[in-house]
Amino acid sequence: MISETGRKRLPAIMIAIVLVVALSATAAAAGSGEQTEFPTRAISYVIPFDPGGQSDVTAQYQKPYLEEILGVNVVVRHQPGAGGALAWSNLVTARGDGYTIMGNNVPHIIIQPLVREDVGYRTEQLKPVYMFQTTPIGVAVAANSPFNTLEDLVDYGRRNPGRITVIGSGTHSGHHLALLQLQQLTGSQFTYIPATGAAPSVANFLGGHSEVLMANSDDLVAHQREMKILAMGTTERFHLLPDVPTFIEQGVQMTAGIDRGVAVPPNTPDEVVAKLEAAFHAVSSDPDFRADMDALGFVTHTMGAAEFAAYLEQKQQEIEAALRELGEL
C-alpha cells in the first residue's frame, strides 16, 4: 500500500493542502504591483453588509462588466457590522490607491456620524466615486387590512396614537427616518419596531406580527400580491408599481429611498477616482445592466463623482435639518 517514506510524507502533504486552501481564501486580494497604469491588479469591492442583500446583488451584477472594462479581477467581499459603520470606519484608514472600493449607502453614511459617537468616520471622508441606484421606500399594509389609502392609515394614527405597529429595518435607518417624517408631516403617531434587516422585517410583516411595513422597492415588488402598497417615496410613480400613488400625490410632501454608490479612501488620487468613475459609468450606461436592475425593482442612476458629492451635501443638510426638527439630535 503506502511505503514507509510515503507514510511519513502523507501528513506533510495533507497539511500543505489544508494550508493552501486556508490561505487562498484570504489571499484573494494580496500581492502588490507598481503603479504604472491603474489598475494592474485585483480590486477589492467591499460591501459593508451581509451577502444576499441589495448592495451585494448589485455588486455581483456589476462585477463581470467592471472586470471587462478595467481588465483586472474585481473581488466582492463583505464586512458587515454596526449597520455598515464598521466597514466605513475601516475605509477611512485604508490605502487610497483605488484597489479598495466600498459600497456607499445613503442615508446611512449621513445619519450614523450624526447620531452616534465613536462611529469612526465622517461622511465627507468617504470619497464619492459614483452613484448607480436607488430603492425607493414604500409603505404597505396587509392584503386584508381595513386601511385602503395612506389617508386611512394616517387618520387612524392621528386618532389612536401609537396603536399601530410599523416594522422596518434598523434604528436611525432610512426606514426609520421615513416613518418619522411621515408622522411629523401628518401629525400621526405609530409604534416603530426595528428589525435587524430587510428580510426579517418582511418575514415579520408577512406573518401578521406588525400592521404596517416600511420596505424597499425590490421587496415590495417581490411580495406585492400579499399586501396593499399605500404609498411610494418617489417624485413620480415607480415604474414597476404604476398603480401605487406617491406620498406627494397624496398631499404628504416627502420622498424616501436608499441610494447606493461606491466610495474610496479619502486620500485616493483624483485620476484614479476618474478611472473608476468612468468604469462605473460604462456599466450603468449598459442597456443589459439597466434592464436587469429595473426588473429587480431598482431605479438606476448615472451620477458621477462631482454630482454624487453635491448630492451628498444636499442630503446632509436635508437630513440634519429633519433630525433636528424631529428632536433626534
Binding site: R7, L10, P11, M14, I15, V18, V21, A22, L23, A25, T26, V46, P51, G52, V57, Q60, Y61, K63, P64, V76, H78, Q79, P80, G81, A82, G83, A85, L86, S89, V115, R116, D118, V119, G120, G162, R163, T165, G170, T171, H172, T191, Y192, I193, P194, A195, T196, A199, P200, V202, A203, N204, L206, G207, G208, H209, S210, A222, H223, D292, L296
Partner: protein, 524 residues
Amino acid sequence: MSGILTSALAGVLEPVSLLLIVFGTSAGIVVGALPGLTATMAIALLVPFTFGMSPIHGLVLLGAIFSGAIYGGSFSAILINTPGTPSAIATTFDGYPMAQKGEAYRAIVTATLASVFGGLVGVGFLIFLSPPLARASLRFGPPEYFWLAMFGLTIIAAVSPRSTLKGLVGGGIGLLIATVGIAPIEGSVRYNFGTVSLQGGISLIPALIGFFCIPEVFRMVEESRQSGTVIPYKRQRRMVLRVFHALLRRPWLMIRSSLLGTLIGIIPGAGGNIAGLVSYNEAVRESKNKDRFGKGAMEGVAAAETANNASVAGALIPMLTLGVPGAPPAAVLFGALLLQGMRPGAELFTVHARITYAFLFSLILANVAMLPLGLLLGKAIARLMHKVRIQTMAPLIVFLSMIGSYSIYNNIADIYVMVATGLLAVMLRKAGFLPGPIVLGLILSPIAEQGLMQSILMGRARGSLFMVFFGRPISLILIALTLLSIVTPIIVQWRSRAETVHHGPVHHGPVPVVREGDAEGDDL
C-alpha cells in the same frame, strides 16, 4: 408536471452536474472542516463563479457546497474540539471525548451516517411539504423568538455535565459578551469602551474559535509529555456496518433529530447551530443514562449531526417558497438565485420549475455523495491526526485559527477578538467553566433581546403585554417545553435520591468506557 420532473432529473444526472456535485460536496467538507471558513463564506466565495454557469449547474454546485460544509464542520469538532462551522457546536460535546478515547473514526462514521440521514429527511420535507411549512414558519413573531431563546437557554443543563451552576454562570458570560456593540433596538453602542472596531460587537466566528480552539491547544501542550500525539487512534474493522446497525436500533433518536433539525431550520433566524443544540438537549433528556453524555456518547454525535444537516433543507424552505431566507447561507443562495434572474417565491415552482426541481434533486445526490467522500476523508484525517505530533499540531491549529478569524470579514480586529476570547476561555476552563454554555449564551443573546424588546413594543401598542407574551399558541408550546426542560432534571434527581433512600446507593461511579468491539453493545 411529470415532464418537468423528468427533465429536471436529466439535468442533474448529466456528467457535468454530477461532477459539480462531487466537487462541491468535497470542497464543502474541506471548507467546513476548517474553523472560521463557514458554509456562508464558501457559498459567497463561489457565487461569482456560478454567475457564468447555467442556472442548474450554478445552483447544483452551491447546494452541494452548503450540504458538504455543514457536515464538514463535524470533523474539526470531533478531532480538535473546535466546531468547523457554528452548526457543529453540539457535535463537540461528545464527538471530541470519543476521539480522546481513540474512537475518532467511529465518531466520524457516526457523524457521516447521521448527516446523510438528516440531510435526506430534510430534503424530503423540502420537496413534499414546502408551502405549508413555509407559511407556518411565518407564525414565528417576536414573542416566539423570545421564548425560543428561553427554551434554548435551558439547554445549558444538558451541556454542562459537571456543574449546572457553573453552566449557568457560563451562559451568563455568553449573554453579556453578546451585548457588546450596537443595541438592536434603540441603536446606541454598548460596552465598546470608545473603540471603533467594537461597535459591531464581538463576531461569533472568532469568538467560537477562541472559546473552543485555544483552550484545547493549551491542554494539548500541557499534556504533550504523556501522549505526544493529539488523539489516539485504534484500528477498527467493519466500523461503518457496526455504526449503521447501532443507529438502526435507535430509530426514534434519528427521526426526532431530523424532524427537530428541519423544523428549526425553517424558522427564519434560527439555523443549524440551534438545531444541533436543541436536538442534543432532547437526546440527553430522553436518555435513561444521562451520565454518559459529554463523555463520548455516540448518541450525542448522532443527534447533533442529524439535526444540523436536516436544517440545511429546512433553511431553504422559506427562502425558496416565500423569498424569506431562513439562515445566513440561505441568504447568500437567495442572492445567487436573483443573479440567475430567478426571484425566490411562488414563481420558482412554476416559471422556473425545471431548475428548481433539478436543484432539489441535486441536494439528494449531494447528501448521498457525502457518504463515500466523508468516510474516505474521515479515515484519512483521523489517521493523520494520530500521526502528527503535538509540536507540529499546536502551532498549526493556532495559525489556522488566526487565518480563519481574519478571513471571515477580512478584519484584523477579529484576530484580536479571537485571541482575547481564547485567553479568557483558558482561564475560565481552569476554573471549571466549559465553552458550550458560554457560546450558547452568545448565540441566544441577540435573539432573546430582540424578541423581548420587539414584544414589549408590540405589547405597548396593543395595550396588553400579557397577551403578547402569554396569549399566543406557539409561545405557549415553547413555554411548556421550557418548563419541561427545567423541571425534568429536578424530578430525575429527586427520584434517584428517593431510590437511594429506599434501595441503597445507585450506581454513581464512572460509567464503564465502551471498548472497541462492543460497538454493538448498549452504548447508543
